[in-house]
């Protein structure tokens, strides 16, 4: 093999590893702009990966599987939104519990059943540019997105002007769930073609790291996803190329980069002011 071939292999595999992250990162970005630091994105991806494979296996159609994944993600977003922004349970508690619950549930269900492997379907990749543009337009150009950002920056002021804070945050989580679900479903149906226990293996946390690394800007978030995808692809490809590079460092790199970005660019980052803070209207 020559160098060009190797480069091509690494790039195409990094693109395929980036895509699930990028789908989910668009959703997580939007949820965080609305003020929810959503750690259940892992649950959304994992749950969607499971249901998409199950439905694709039952119906024989990858498209239906993807749709089921999107719905599953949105359902988890709906549950998270209602627990966190209607019942005002701490959003991190909700996220932790949902992650534990979905991991337990999918592991439990897969232990009893086996899904046949299906050929990968890569066409959903074509949806990615559209979804990125749509997310950008929604957040930066639409009335709804303006309200979302207001809710994420200063929920009390937003509430004063008549924006329903909890509703906007729940809607943001629905969008986040649908996109994280698409990412998880793409990983399972689009790339691997089957489901195995704890298949996402922390990719949801990678997505959170990407949004932080991107400093809560969509473009840089996607760059973060690409860098993380490349690191993953390199980790898989380097041994075959005869290059020894510390694989632990490559796995830890996304998290270290996110931490480093937060430490170095703390003052320049556009972190939503009310990120992770619950909002309860003060009764007079």
């Amino acid at each position: 093999m020559n160098l060009l071939d190797d480069l091509g292999t690494v790039l195409s595999s990094s693109l395929r590893l980036t895509a699930p992250l990028a789908f989910a990162a668009c959703g997580e970005y939007l949820a965080e702009r609305a003020g929810t630091l959503n750690i259940s994105v892992e649950a959304m991806m994992l749950g969607a990966a499971f249901s998409s494979v199950a439905v694709a296996g039952a119906t024989g159609s990858a498209t239906t599987g993807l749709a089921a994944g999107v719905l599953t993600g949105a359902l988890i977003g709906l549950i998270h939104g209602n627990l966190a922004h209607r019942l005002t349970i701490n959003t991190f508690v909700v996220g932790l519990v949902l992650n534990a619950l979905v991991l337990g549930l999918t592991s439990f269900l897969i232990a009893g059943a086996t899904f046949g492997s299906r050929p990968p379907q890569r066409w959903p990749l074509l949806l990615l540019p559209g979804i990125v543009l749509l997310t950008w337009w929604l957040v930066e150009r639409s009335r709804w997105g303006l309200e979302l950002r207001a809710v994420g920056e200063n929920p009390r002021a937003a509430d004063m002007t008549g924006i329903r804070v909890g509703l906007r945050r729940r809607q943001a989580l629905l969008w986040c769930g649908a996109l994280a679900g698409l990412g998880g479903a793409y990983l399972a149906v689009g790339e691997v073609g089957s489901f195995n226990q704890n298949m996402t293996a922390g990719r949801g946390y990678l997505v959170i790291a990407a949004v932080i690394f991107g400093g809560w800007r969509l473009g840089r978030t996607l760059v973060g996803c690409a860098v993380f995808g490349l690191a993953d692809a390199l980790r898989l490809a380097l041994p075959a190329l005869g290059v020894t590079l510390n694989s632990q460092l490559l796995i830890a790199a996304p998290y270290l980069l996110a931490l480093l970005a937060m430490v170095l660019f703390a003052t320049r980052h556009r972190r939503p002011r009310a990120l992770g803070k619950p909002f309860v209207r003060q009764e007079p």
């Binding site: 630091l37 932790l96 337990g104 549930l105 790291a209 632990q248 931490l259 430490v263 990120l275």
Partner: protein, 341 residues
């Protein structure tokens, strides 16, 4: 209280439905849970072994949460504690009791420092503590993986074998936590004593000392605490460091208890870090309440491993745990607000 009971019953009902739906028998599953956890002295011994690290982690989580700092990085702190404990236990030539103390101390201090790094990042650059403790968990996992994959660090010695696994050598027997005496069949490991002592100390610290008062005040109203002269940085940092310390101690206890292989392995925490956090959530951050809850989670752990024999996947225990946490955090909510959309 009745609401909590109702929600918990619902959680168990959902679990039972899941068992039936997958073709199992809830009664048999329940029997297996009991058989594996409390039916005889051996089972109880195993349950108590699980309870010790869970209680330590939960007690630590109570401290940080009382200060209004949500530390969710226990999983990583447990690993760092086990790593430091393993390094001390394998490298130091000390007599038995001293070595045990040094292993525990090394684990506790290393993890305390690891957690304190998050407080430092918060102080200097305003980095969110929840995020940094979470991300540090994944860094910790790779630090441990690196240590056990690197021959000149902690990877097991070759001893003429063709392959070496990513794990450390077995700790010498004199570094292991001993049994406090075996009553016909029932083994009481010293780890449980440490854990209960830690939970009681944390309870006393939080409710009976000036420092604990500051911690609680900071947690209830940071602005008021700052105005009345509480040094927020110091209290936040110490609360976070203590919670990490206890998680690290849990790692060391886990490493040296009969529960583990007494080797440091990348997956050696068995996910107890996450579980310990859930214990603290159910106990609503009260360290003494964490004792029975940790026992309950330990029952689910030890009993869960017996589930597979009945044809019910042992992951059921994880589902029950998560649903129970939901049942315990949901009740403060009025029913009428539970509408969709």
């Amino acid at each position: 209280m009745t609401r909590t009971a109702a929600w918990s019953a619902l959680a168990l009902l959902v679990s039972a439905v899941l068992i039936v739906a997958t073709g199992g028998s809830p009664v048999e599953a329940m029997q297996a849970l009991v058989r594996g956890s409390v039916a005889d002295a051996t089972a109880i011994s195993v349950t108590l072994l699980y309870a010790a690290p869970l209680l330590l982690i939960a007690a630590g989580a109570c401290v940080s949460a009382s200060a209004g700092v949500f530390n969710i990085g226990q999983e990583g702190q447990v690993l760092i504690g086990a790593l430091a404990g393993a390094a001390a236990g394998l490298r130091l030539a000390l007599p038995g009791p001293a070595l045990i103390a040094v292993v525990g101390l090394a684990g506790a201090l290393a993890a305390g420092f690891w957690a304190w790094l998050s407080a430092l990042m918060h102080r200097l650059r305003g980095v969110d503590i929840v995020v940094s403790t979470l991300l540090m968990t994944f860094v910790a996992q790779q630090v441990v993986a690196f240590a056990v994959n690197t021959p000149w660090l902690l990877q097991e010695s070759r001893l003429g074998r063709a392959t070496v696994l990513p794990q450390t050598n077995k700790l010498p027997p004199r570094a292991l936590l001993g049994s406090l005496g075996s009553y016909p069949g029932l083994q009481l490991n010293a780890g449980l004593l440490i854990a209960v002592a830690a939970a009681v100390s944390v309870a006393v610290l939080l409710t009976r000392t000036r420092w604990g008062f500051r911690v609680t005040m900071l947690g209830l109203n940071p602005a008021a605490a700052a105005h009345s002269g509480v040094r927020v940085t110091v209290v936040t940092g110490s609360a976070l460091a203590i919670s990490g310390t206890l998680a690290g101690l849990a790692g060391a206890v886990l490493l040296t208890s009969p529960l583990s292989t007494n080797r440091l392995q990348p997956g050696g925490t068995l996910g107890l870090g996450w579980d310990g956090l859930l214990v603290a959530l159910i106990a609503r951050n009260r360290p003494l309440l964490a004792i029975p809850v940790a026992l309950l989670f330990a029952v689910l752990r030890s009993g869960g491993s017996f589930l597979a024999a009945t044809g019910v996947p042992s992951y059921l225990a994880d589902i029950v745990k998560a649903l129970l946490v939901l049942a315990f955090v949901a009740p403060r909510v009025p029913w009428r607000r539970l509408a969709v959309a």
